[in-house]
Amino acid sequence: MASAIHTIEASGVARFMREALYAYPVAEVVHIVGLGLLFGSIAIVDLRLLGLGSRVPVKPLVAFAVPWSIAGFTIAASAGLLMFTAHAEEFLTQPVFMLKMGLILAGGFNATILHVSRSYCGLASSLAVASSRICSGLRWDYVVTPKADGSTLALSRCSQTILCHKRPAALRH
Protein backbone atom coordinates (compact mmCIF):
# COMPACT_ATOMS: atom_id res chain seq x y z
CA MET A 1 0.00 0.00 0.00
CA ALA A 2 2.69 2.45 1.07
CA SER A 3 4.80 1.59 -1.98
CA ALA A 4 1.78 1.97 -4.26
CA ILE A 5 1.22 5.48 -2.87
CA HIS A 6 4.91 6.21 -3.34
CA THR A 7 4.70 5.00 -6.95
CA ILE A 8 1.74 7.31 -7.58
CA GLU A 9 3.52 10.34 -6.12
CA ALA A 10 6.73 9.59 -8.04
CA SER A 11 4.91 9.17 -11.37
CA GLY A 12 5.29 11.59 -14.24
CA VAL A 13 1.66 12.69 -13.94
CA ALA A 14 2.09 13.50 -10.25
CA ARG A 15 5.27 15.46 -10.91
CA PHE A 16 3.56 17.31 -13.72
CA MET A 17 0.64 18.23 -11.44
CA ARG A 18 3.02 19.49 -8.75
CA GLU A 19 5.52 21.32 -10.92
CA ALA A 20 3.77 22.62 -14.04
CA LEU A 21 2.85 26.23 -13.45
CA TYR A 22 -0.81 26.00 -14.50
CA ALA A 23 -1.78 22.29 -14.52
CA TYR A 24 -3.02 22.24 -10.93
CA PRO A 25 -5.01 25.50 -11.08
CA VAL A 26 -6.64 24.33 -14.34
CA ALA A 27 -7.53 21.00 -12.69
CA GLU A 28 -9.08 22.93 -9.79
CA VAL A 29 -11.27 24.93 -12.17
CA VAL A 30 -12.30 21.79 -14.10
CA HIS A 31 -13.09 20.07 -10.78
CA ILE A 32 -15.43 22.92 -9.79
CA VAL A 33 -17.07 23.00 -13.24
CA GLY A 34 -17.73 19.24 -12.94
CA LEU A 35 -19.21 19.68 -9.47
CA GLY A 36 -21.43 22.49 -10.75
CA LEU A 37 -22.72 20.29 -13.55
CA LEU A 38 -23.27 17.31 -11.22
CA PHE A 39 -25.11 19.14 -8.44
CA GLY A 40 -26.88 21.60 -10.74
CA SER A 41 -28.42 18.95 -12.95
CA ILE A 42 -29.36 16.53 -10.18
CA ALA A 43 -30.84 19.34 -8.05
CA ILE A 44 -33.41 19.94 -10.80
CA VAL A 45 -34.35 16.24 -10.77
CA ASP A 46 -34.58 16.28 -6.95
CA LEU A 47 -36.86 19.32 -7.00
CA ARG A 48 -39.07 17.62 -9.59
CA LEU A 49 -39.23 14.41 -7.51
CA LEU A 50 -40.20 16.53 -4.50
CA GLY A 51 -43.21 17.64 -6.51
CA LEU A 52 -42.15 21.02 -7.89
CA GLY A 53 -42.54 21.93 -11.54
CA SER A 54 -45.17 19.35 -12.38
CA ARG A 55 -45.60 20.75 -15.90
CA VAL A 56 -42.28 19.05 -16.68
CA PRO A 57 -42.76 15.29 -17.15
CA VAL A 58 -40.46 13.22 -14.91
CA LYS A 59 -39.39 10.59 -17.41
CA PRO A 60 -37.84 12.83 -20.10
CA LEU A 61 -36.42 15.15 -17.44
CA VAL A 62 -34.59 12.26 -15.76
CA ALA A 63 -33.50 10.88 -19.13
CA PHE A 64 -32.02 14.26 -20.05
CA ALA A 65 -30.57 15.38 -16.71
CA VAL A 66 -29.06 12.24 -15.23
CA PRO A 67 -26.53 11.64 -18.06
CA TRP A 68 -25.33 15.23 -17.47
CA SER A 69 -25.01 14.46 -13.75
CA ILE A 70 -22.93 11.41 -14.61
CA ALA A 71 -20.85 13.54 -17.00
CA GLY A 72 -20.36 16.13 -14.24
CA PHE A 73 -19.26 13.45 -11.79
CA THR A 74 -16.85 11.99 -14.35
CA ILE A 75 -15.30 15.41 -15.03
CA ALA A 76 -14.98 16.22 -11.31
CA ALA A 77 -13.60 12.78 -10.45
CA SER A 78 -11.04 12.85 -13.29
CA ALA A 79 -9.72 16.29 -12.31
CA GLY A 80 -9.82 15.22 -8.66
CA LEU A 81 -7.80 12.10 -9.40
CA LEU A 82 -5.14 14.19 -11.15
CA MET A 83 -4.86 16.46 -8.11
CA PHE A 84 -4.83 13.44 -5.82
CA THR A 85 -1.73 12.02 -7.52
CA ALA A 86 0.27 15.15 -6.62
CA HIS A 87 0.06 14.49 -2.87
CA ALA A 88 -1.57 11.06 -2.50
CA GLU A 89 -0.13 10.30 0.92
CA GLU A 90 -1.11 13.67 2.36
CA PHE A 91 -4.68 13.26 1.10
CA LEU A 92 -5.01 9.74 2.47
CA THR A 93 -3.91 10.83 5.94
CA GLN A 94 -6.46 13.65 6.09
CA PRO A 95 -9.66 12.69 7.95
CA VAL A 96 -11.61 15.28 5.93
CA PHE A 97 -10.55 13.62 2.68
CA MET A 98 -11.62 10.20 3.94
CA LEU A 99 -14.94 11.67 5.07
CA LYS A 100 -15.42 13.14 1.61
CA MET A 101 -14.71 9.78 -0.06
CA GLY A 102 -17.15 8.11 2.33
CA LEU A 103 -19.84 10.63 1.46
CA ILE A 104 -19.23 10.11 -2.27
CA LEU A 105 -19.61 6.34 -1.77
CA ALA A 106 -22.81 6.89 0.21
CA GLY A 107 -24.11 9.22 -2.52
CA GLY A 108 -23.29 6.68 -5.22
CA PHE A 109 -24.97 3.93 -3.22
CA ASN A 110 -28.06 6.09 -2.78
CA ALA A 111 -28.21 6.93 -6.49
CA THR A 112 -27.81 3.26 -7.40
CA ILE A 113 -30.66 2.23 -5.12
CA LEU A 114 -32.86 5.02 -6.46
CA HIS A 115 -32.32 4.14 -10.09
CA VAL A 116 -31.84 0.38 -10.11
CA SER A 117 -34.48 -0.76 -7.63
CA ARG A 118 -38.05 0.43 -7.68
CA SER A 119 -38.19 1.07 -3.95
CA TYR A 120 -37.40 4.74 -4.59
CA CYS A 121 -40.88 5.21 -5.97
CA GLY A 122 -42.38 4.78 -2.53
CA LEU A 123 -39.77 7.05 -1.01
CA ALA A 124 -40.17 9.78 -3.59
CA SER A 125 -43.95 9.73 -3.52
CA SER A 126 -44.06 9.80 0.27
CA LEU A 127 -41.71 12.77 0.10
CA ALA A 128 -44.10 14.42 -2.33
CA VAL A 129 -47.00 13.71 0.00
CA ALA A 130 -45.06 15.03 2.99
CA SER A 131 -44.17 18.21 1.18
CA SER A 132 -47.76 18.60 0.05
CA ARG A 133 -48.85 18.39 3.68
CA ILE A 134 -46.26 20.96 4.72
CA CYS A 135 -47.12 23.31 1.89
CA SER A 136 -50.85 22.72 1.89
CA GLY A 137 -51.32 26.38 1.04
CA LEU A 138 -49.96 25.70 -2.40
CA ARG A 139 -51.96 23.82 -5.01
CA TRP A 140 -50.04 20.59 -4.60
CA ASP A 141 -52.76 18.64 -6.35
CA TYR A 142 -51.82 20.61 -9.44
CA VAL A 143 -48.15 20.49 -8.62
CA VAL A 144 -48.09 16.71 -8.73
CA THR A 145 -50.61 16.23 -11.49
CA PRO A 146 -53.45 18.28 -12.96
CA LYS A 147 -55.67 15.20 -12.80
CA ALA A 148 -55.31 14.65 -9.05
CA ASP A 149 -58.46 15.26 -7.09
CA GLY A 150 -56.44 16.80 -4.28
CA SER A 151 -56.84 14.14 -1.61
CA THR A 152 -53.67 12.81 -0.07
CA LEU A 153 -54.39 9.24 -1.07
CA ALA A 154 -55.06 10.17 -4.66
CA LEU A 155 -52.03 12.40 -4.62
CA SER A 156 -49.90 9.54 -3.41
CA ARG A 157 -51.29 7.23 -6.05
CA CYS A 158 -50.79 9.85 -8.75
CA SER A 159 -47.22 10.54 -7.84
CA GLN A 160 -46.60 6.80 -7.64
CA THR A 161 -47.86 6.53 -11.19
CA ILE A 162 -45.66 9.38 -12.36
CA LEU A 163 -42.54 8.43 -10.44
CA CYS A 164 -42.70 4.69 -11.02
CA HIS A 165 -43.09 5.09 -14.72
CA LYS A 166 -41.00 2.68 -16.71
CA ARG A 167 -37.37 3.55 -16.14
CA PRO A 168 -35.96 5.74 -18.90
CA ALA A 169 -33.60 4.16 -21.40
CA ALA A 170 -30.64 6.13 -20.03
CA LEU A 171 -31.00 4.44 -16.66
CA ARG A 172 -31.39 0.85 -17.81
CA HIS A 173 -28.34 -1.30 -17.39
Partner: protein
Protein backbone atom coordinates in the same frame (compact mmCIF):
# COMPACT_ATOMS: atom_id res chain seq x y z
CA UNK B 1 -24.70 35.74 -21.23
CA UNK B 2 -21.69 38.05 -21.24
CA UNK B 3 -22.57 39.24 -17.77
CA UNK B 4 -22.67 35.65 -16.48
CA UNK B 5 -19.25 35.00 -17.99
CA UNK B 6 -17.82 38.08 -16.29
CA UNK B 7 -19.30 37.04 -12.97
CA UNK B 8 -17.86 33.55 -13.35
CA UNK B 9 -14.44 34.97 -14.22
CA UNK B 10 -14.61 37.39 -11.29
CA UNK B 11 -15.26 34.47 -8.95
CA UNK B 12 -12.28 32.40 -10.09
CA UNK B 13 -9.66 34.11 -7.89
CA UNK B 14 -12.03 33.79 -4.94
CA UNK B 15 -12.16 30.05 -5.53
CA UNK B 16 -8.41 29.66 -5.65
CA UNK B 17 -8.02 31.72 -2.48
CA UNK B 18 -10.67 29.78 -0.63
CA UNK B 19 -8.98 26.53 -1.56
CA UNK B 20 -6.80 26.20 1.55
CA UNK B 21 -7.98 28.13 4.53
CA UNK B 22 -5.99 30.51 6.64
CA UNK B 23 -8.11 29.65 9.65
CA UNK B 24 -5.76 26.88 10.75
CA UNK B 25 -3.11 29.56 11.32
CA UNK B 26 -3.10 31.93 14.27
CA UNK B 27 -3.24 35.32 12.61
CA UNK B 28 -3.10 37.14 15.93
CA UNK B 29 0.55 36.19 16.42
CA UNK B 30 2.62 37.35 13.50
CA UNK B 31 6.18 36.10 13.22
CA UNK B 32 8.96 37.84 11.35
CA UNK B 33 11.82 35.39 10.86
CA UNK B 34 15.04 35.55 8.93
CA UNK B 35 16.91 32.40 8.07
CA UNK B 36 18.59 30.19 5.56
CA UNK B 37 16.50 28.16 3.14
CA UNK B 38 17.30 24.47 3.63
CA UNK B 39 14.79 22.95 1.25
CA UNK B 40 12.43 24.31 -1.40
CA UNK B 41 9.24 22.95 -2.88
CA UNK B 42 8.15 25.15 -5.77
CA UNK B 43 5.07 23.01 -6.24
CA UNK B 44 1.28 22.84 -6.20
CA UNK B 45 -1.03 23.30 -4.47
CA UNK B 46 1.33 25.32 -2.26
CA UNK B 47 5.01 26.01 -2.39
CA UNK B 48 7.08 25.72 0.77
CA UNK B 49 10.51 26.39 2.21
CA UNK B 50 12.22 24.80 5.18
CA UNK B 51 13.58 27.81 6.97
CA UNK B 52 16.46 27.47 9.42
CA UNK B 53 15.66 30.33 11.80
CA UNK B 54 17.57 30.93 15.05
CA UNK B 55 16.76 28.03 17.38
CA UNK B 56 14.24 26.28 15.14
CA UNK B 57 13.66 25.03 11.63
CA UNK B 58 10.24 25.98 10.30
CA UNK B 59 8.15 24.68 7.43
CA UNK B 60 6.88 27.89 5.82
CA UNK B 61 3.91 27.27 3.54
CA UNK B 62 3.95 29.66 0.60
CA UNK B 63 1.52 30.43 -2.23
CA UNK B 64 0.79 28.30 -5.32
CA UNK B 65 3.69 28.53 -7.83
CA UNK B 66 1.41 30.13 -10.43
CA UNK B 67 0.74 33.04 -8.06
CA UNK B 68 4.37 33.37 -6.96
CA UNK B 69 5.58 33.35 -10.57
CA UNK B 70 2.90 35.88 -11.45
CA UNK B 71 4.17 38.20 -8.70
CA UNK B 72 7.78 37.91 -9.70
CA UNK B 73 9.05 35.22 -7.33
CA UNK B 74 10.45 32.71 -9.79
CA UNK B 75 11.68 29.20 -9.17
CA UNK B 76 15.25 30.36 -9.82
CA UNK B 77 15.09 32.97 -7.03
CA UNK B 78 14.08 30.43 -4.41
CA UNK B 79 17.08 28.16 -3.98
CA UNK B 80 18.48 26.27 -0.98
CA UNK B 81 21.18 28.30 0.74
CA UNK B 82 19.48 31.64 0.10
CA UNK B 83 18.75 33.84 3.11
CA UNK B 84 15.15 34.99 3.20
CA UNK B 85 12.86 36.89 5.53
CA UNK B 86 9.38 35.50 6.07
CA UNK B 87 6.41 37.24 7.71
CA UNK B 88 4.02 34.50 8.74
CA UNK B 89 1.51 33.02 11.17
CA UNK B 90 2.08 29.82 13.13
CA UNK B 91 -0.16 26.80 12.61
CA UNK B 92 -2.57 26.25 15.50
CA UNK B 93 -1.85 22.53 15.83
CA UNK B 94 1.45 21.82 14.02
CA UNK B 95 4.19 23.60 16.00
CA UNK B 96 6.74 23.45 13.15
CA UNK B 97 4.50 24.90 10.46
CA UNK B 98 3.66 28.46 9.53
CA UNK B 99 1.89 30.19 6.69
CA UNK B 100 3.76 33.00 4.99
CA UNK B 101 2.02 36.30 4.38
CA UNK B 102 5.03 37.67 2.49
CA UNK B 103 8.58 36.71 1.76
CA UNK B 104 11.66 38.82 1.06
CA UNK B 105 14.26 37.23 -1.20
CA UNK B 106 17.42 39.16 -2.19
CA UNK B 107 15.80 42.50 -1.43
CA UNK B 108 12.53 41.75 -3.23
CA UNK B 109 9.36 41.43 -1.14
CA UNK B 110 6.52 39.36 -2.55
CA UNK B 111 3.01 39.21 -1.07
CA UNK B 112 1.77 35.61 -0.96
CA UNK B 113 -1.88 35.85 0.04
Amino acid sequence: MKRYLFTALALLPALSLAHHGWSEYDQSSMLTLTGRVEEVGYEHPHGYVKLAAPGKTWLAVLAPPSRMDNRGLTKEMLKPGTTVQVVSYPNRTKPEEMRAERITVTGKTVELR
